[in-house]
Structure formats: structure tokens, C-alpha cells
Amino acid sequence: MNLTLHVWRQKGPSDVGQFQTFQATGVSKDQSFLEMLDVVNDKLELAGKDPIVFEHDCREGICGCCGFMVNGKAHGGQPETTVCQLHMRSFSDGDELIIEPWRSAAFPVVKDLMVDRSAFDRIVQAGGYVSVRTGSAQDANAIPISKEIADRAFDSAACIGCGACVASCPNASAMLFTGAKINHLGLLPQGQVERFSRVQAMTQQMDAEGFGPCSNHEECEAYCPKGIPVEVIGRMNGDLLKAQLRGRDS
């Protein structure tokens, strides 16, 4: 099949950027979306032109590198699918696709479809961990954890940090990402000691990075390739409120 691609091209953070149109010809339905772009890039490279820059690495939906908007939908909008696992059979001959980077003040464009998501790293650095010294852990079975709690913690921990939540949110909010980590650690007994200082530190950093507020649109959950539930935002809010009521300050 043949497709028309309108791709955002931007040389760097300070460049204005604009859309550029490409024809993707002879696309196979068995190709992944990124492989379709690889072929477009091969032609650009041979013509001595700059290929379209997009981030990718594992191409199996777990590293969290890839991600951009396809026709207004983060990762292309298939349920629980990253754009590297999106396949061309979801499209038809003659389709026009608008391909844009994540747009958020906290994710400045590096080049074309690649954005800088280091804000996520700094949110985790602010407190997204259990302070345990290597070698000082007790036996792993010393604290039983109910299967339900372990499973819920896992559901939150499944976040791959791709940024689709921020991208799809009308407010460019990072509450799902931040809430997922807070919820993962806050549910487990190991995370209790730092539970309230953690939520304060991480949400402060989230604000400092310039992410927007939550309006409970729930687009984040719908577009999250790992199906992180919005419940994590509720628990984060509750924990922050409790932290205030307990008079703890970080």
C-alpha cells in the first residue's frame, strides 16, 4: 500500500519546525510502523538528506524509547501497543498520516520526533526509590505480601516511562507517570517508611518540571501502552493529603 506522511521536522529545541510531506510506497501490512519509517529513511539517506529522527531501541514495547503521535493518537492508539509494535495492517492504502512528537513544555523537542524526557528521571531521582543499602536486606520471604497487593504494585510498576500519558493529556500532565511510581512503592511494605516524604518530594519535582495539572480526562490511561490505571493518581493525591495532615514535611 501507499501512504502519505506529514512528518514534523525540527532541527533542534530552538528551531521553529514545520511539517514535511513524504510518500511511503510499497508498504507491506506485515511491517511495523517503525520499519515503514526505516524504509523512508533509507531513501533519504541514499539521497544524502537527513533522515527522520525518532527514538527507538528494543522494538518490542518494553524499553519505552519510542513514541510519537500518529493522527492525533499517542503510539497510534491501538490498545496497549507502543508505536514499535504498531503494525501497518492497522492502516489502509491511501491513508494520510500526521506524525508529531510528544508536545509538552517539560519534553522539549531534541530533533524531529525525538523529545527530551529527562524530566521523568529527575522525578524518580527526587524520591522514587526505597533507600536500601546493598547487602543490608533481610531474607526475601521475611515479610509476606498479599498476592493482591503484590499484583497491584506490579500493575503500577509496569510503567515503561515512554511519556504517552503526558502526550495524550490535554493538560500535558505527568500525574499518571508520577502516580504509578508512588503507588508501586507506596503499596508495598518496603516502601512505607519513606511513603510520605516520597510523595511530597516527587510531586514537587513534577511541578518544578512544568507538567500540567490533572483534569481527570483519563486519556492517559486509555493511551498508556501498559494500561496503568488512573487509580494511581487518586492514591498519589490521597497520600499527599495525608502527608500534609500528618504534618510531615520533606
Binding site: 511495523s32 520499519e35 524526557r117 536500601v132 546493598t134 515479610i143 499484583d151
Partner: protein, 646 residues
Amino acid sequence: MTLQSNAPGGDIETAWDRHRFDMKVVNPANKRKYTVIVVGTGLAGASAAATMGELGYNVLNFCFQDSPRRAHSIAAQGGINAAKNYQGDADSVFRLFYDTIKGGDFRAREENVYRLAQISNNIIDQAVAQGVPFAREYGGLLGNRSFGGALVSRTFYSQGQTGQQLLLGAYQALSRQIQAGTVKIFPRTEMQDLVVHDGHARGIITRHLVTGKIERWAADAVVLATGGYVNVYFLSTNAMGSNVTATWRATRRGAYFANPCYTQIHPTCIPVSGGYQSKLTLMSESLRNDGRVWVPKNAEDAWNAKAAKVGRHPGDIPESDRDYYLERRYPTFGNLVPRDVASRNAKLVCDAGHGVSFEGNGVYLDFADAYERLGRKEVGERYGNLFDMYQRITGESAYEQPMRIYPAPHYAMGGLWVDYNLQSNVPGLFVLGEANFSDHGANRLGASALMQGLSDGYFVLPYTIGHYLGIQGPRKSSTDWGEFAQAEEQVTDRINKLLSIKGKRTVDSFHRELGLELWNNCGMARNRHDLTTLLGRIPEIRAEFWENVSVPGSAGDLNQTLERAGRVADFLEFAEVMALDARQREESCGGHFRVEHATEEGEARRDDVNFRYVAAWEYQGVDQKPTMHKEQLEFRYVKLTQRSYK
């Protein structure tokens, strides 16, 4: 030069304890006087950087990804082994040690593997304390599952993403140290060269992938945790960015590359669907617990798009026309033979024209029996997420028709040679995880890679590097040393050369060509003749690459083509050593199968008399044959036997 393993002799059970006592210890107040470079932020790199930061060292940690959380350790699905014996099924440190040595086909160093088995238990404790959400039973205790090559249930797991959960644990520990200021992180920064001064590894040269800036970094020691090299095949289950550059650059600076021919080909991956394919996707090996592997008995029934063979729909092929070849050849283990055996047999039937798939490279993995035995619902609960992934990629439903699978390169057992202290033959250069050669011998068992990466990073290196630093004492480091200037110049020259060729072929076309040559001649089954042909081909491809590659753009900018070109250039040099190693090893062992060295039944035949050694290759220059050094392997605790799964 004789390679000294530096492993403590005597009783293996107390070896690591005694060694720790005998090593020098750096005074806590002095640790901040030492700077250590860690390249890579996977399980090994992140855990090492975090632990050393915690101990008080100054750590500089580099990764080429945009965040340390993205290293390819994240993609490991299955699990992590530990000798906890929580199931009470007679597991023990010795049994894990024994299984790992045997699974590796008796080509690993006993002392290292024993230490790995001992430390395995600490890893689980550490991970749980960090909040890694391992699967649990209803009583709240940790759950285990069984994995290939073991008779006990010792694998800890987090659904299908154990790698991501363990990596996030290490990443969070690392983040804590970054916040504390003990570790400085440099993402989007790729190591381009190693700097050796006075015979010791003292720094690296990096390129910043966004600005193109070339920088020099000096330190007291350099740690490489840069993963494996199976992307040399182009198509593999590795991430697109996984590469050999860091370890190969170290090889060019004098480190020995050990056992490069030991590569693992994983049997259950989704077959290639077309010439545009960029990577192969692994489907968990657990599928073989309930799926039956078969191919059409008659070659004309096999669908092969490339050969214009329509074949027959699998549902229309009657039982009598199906060949359940694993069950036929291995009645005892059936579909559950180890990875190397399953992979080799898939290749055999496909080479004989029975393969089903786009290029005839595929076998059926059929769940029809499982549906009858367990019901669709139960099968869906066990494998539903894998079936979904399969459908996303192939558009076919495993509920309606058999899956198609084919082996794909997955893991590199070979790597830089290291001693018991994980130090390479270049003093001050330490190598961890998949990047070193040490613990898996000729074949790695499932759920052992995560164990090794974390063992090296959390529990081994932080001690052994202290010994080295303690002996050296605080030293002056300077990026003004001549070796830095020289290395930087070479890096810049190479980049400029790549950009100036302006040829007519893409970087990927060379990579694909190299990969296909290796896959055909140094893949699942190898022979002397093909390897010799391959050794002729590689320099030709390399020569054409340096004359005809097209790398647009500039050096002072984000240039993904340039990044790939540098990595492929290194693969083109490395591949030759891999082929040489495969050719010199006149035996079959683990992932290295030489058709000349098979039993009458076609099974691998080791030669313990002549090849019970580690082959470590010393670089002599491009187009020069590297020199091979041997480390003889002694087995004091495990009796060497022939593996049989009949």
C-alpha cells in the same frame, strides 16, 4: 602470556569468603578520592554504579540511551534464578552451581559459577527490599517457576517482565545516588574509545549523541557493562542499539576477547516476515510447556512465500502428514529439550525444505492438544499476553491456527576475558554482565543472565575494584595525557572518514549483509569450510563499507546514521574474530555446533581433551590475525559428562 584466573584455590565453598578477607579494603574516608567510570546502565552497570556510589566512590556513569532506565536488560521476560530452595525441592547452592556448569556444557570457570550461585540468594533479598514486585502466592510468599535445564523450581519472576522490574530496582538505586551526588549520570553519551596509560585503563573518550561533542574522561578505573554482541547478526532479539563498540574498542586497546563464538540462538522467536525486518521478537520459552512443535511431513505442504510455495493451511494437514520432530527424536524430553537442541533441529527441518513462513524459516507451535486437554480458557490464562503480542506482530491468532516460530540470536556467552575479580588482562579495566565471558560457558540457561548481571554489579565488583584501587593508592589523573589526545584524534578521524565517504549504500545494507553471512555460516550449525569462506567474505564487506557507505549529515549534530555507522564498523572487525574462534574450536559445545563434531545421532560432541579451554583473542591490528591465548579450565567439583536428552 598465561591467563591467570586469580581464583582462590582450596575449598570452593569458602573461596569467596576467604578471597574477600584477603583483598585490600579502601578506608571509607578515602573512597571519595577515587573516580570510577562505569559504561552502561543495565542490570550490571546500574547496580555497580549505585553500589559504588553508596560506598563513597566518585562514579561517572554513561549510557547511550536517553535514560539509564532503558538499557536492554529491561527486555528480559522469563525470570531470575536463585538457590533459595523456598519450594523445598532439594535445591541448593551446589545444585544451582552444578546445573549452570552443566548447562554451559562444561566451558565455564568453576569458582566464578560457584560464587554466582552463592550470591544468587542475596540478589533476591536485595531486589525485594527495593520493592521489586515479584510474583507471590496467596499466602504472601514468593512464587517460583521452573525453567529449562533444571529439575527444581527456582526461578523468581514478575509476570513477563522480570528484566524491567529488576532493572527499575537498580535504576531506582542509581537514581538515589544521583540525587545524593555520588554518581553523575551522562545519558545520550556513547563510549568511543578506551584510554590506557602506563598499562592501566585510565579513561574513556565519549561522543555526546545530541551535540556531537567529543569528550575525554579520566578516572582511577574503568568498568564496562555494555552488554552483548549478537546484533552482529543484524537480526536478533537484542535492542537496535545493542553493540560491540565498547568491548571491541577495549580489545583494540589490548583487552582479550574470550570465546566470541559462543552465541545463544533462542528457539522461540517470531520468524522473519520480509526484507525490511529490523529485529526479531522473542516469545517466552514457556510456550513449549504446552505447545507441540511440528512441520509438514511433505515439503510441498509447507508454505514458503519467497519460494512461491503456497503449501497447505496447517489446519488442512492431517495428523499423518505432520512431523512432530522433537517428540520423534527426543522421546524423553520431547518439546522441552534445551534451547540449543531445539534451535538446531528447527534449522535442520527447515533446511530440508519443510519450513513454513515467508522465507521457509519457521516451524509450527501448535496448541490444539492443549485446548483439548486444558480448555481454551486455561490456555488463554497461561499464554494470553503472548498470544496477543503474536497477533499484534503477525496478524494471526494462535487460538485459530498454530503459531509459527523460528530461532533467533539472543545472547552472547562470549565477551571480554576477566579473572575472578572481573578484571580484564588490562589492569584497571573491569567487565561485568553479558559484556564479560565468565559464567555461562558455551550455553546459558534460562533465567541466569539477570542473576549474573546483578551478582557482578551489586556484590562482586564493589569488593574487587576496592582491592585494585587499594593497591594502586590515590593517583593523579589527567585528560592532558598524550594517550587521551591520541585516542581523541583517532575517534575524530574515524568519524570524519565515515562522513567523507559519501558512497551509495546505506549503513544498514552492510549490516544486513554481514549479518546474513554470519547467520548462514556461523549460526546454529557451523563447519570449517563455511567458516573459511566467511573469513574471506568479512574483509571484503569491510573494505566495501569503507569505500561505499553513505552517511549523511554532520559530526556536530544529532546523527543517528553516524551512530549506527560507527557500530557497524566495529561489528565488521569483530565478526572476523568470532569466525576465527568458531573455526579453531574443533568440537561442538553448547551454542557452538560444528557439524563435523557430532555423534552418529547428530548430537553435539565435545572434545574435553583438546578444547577444555577458554580462547582469549589478542588484537593485532585490522587485517592481522589476532593471537589466541588459552586459559585451561579445571573441574574439581563437577564430573564432565556428555549431555543427552533422548
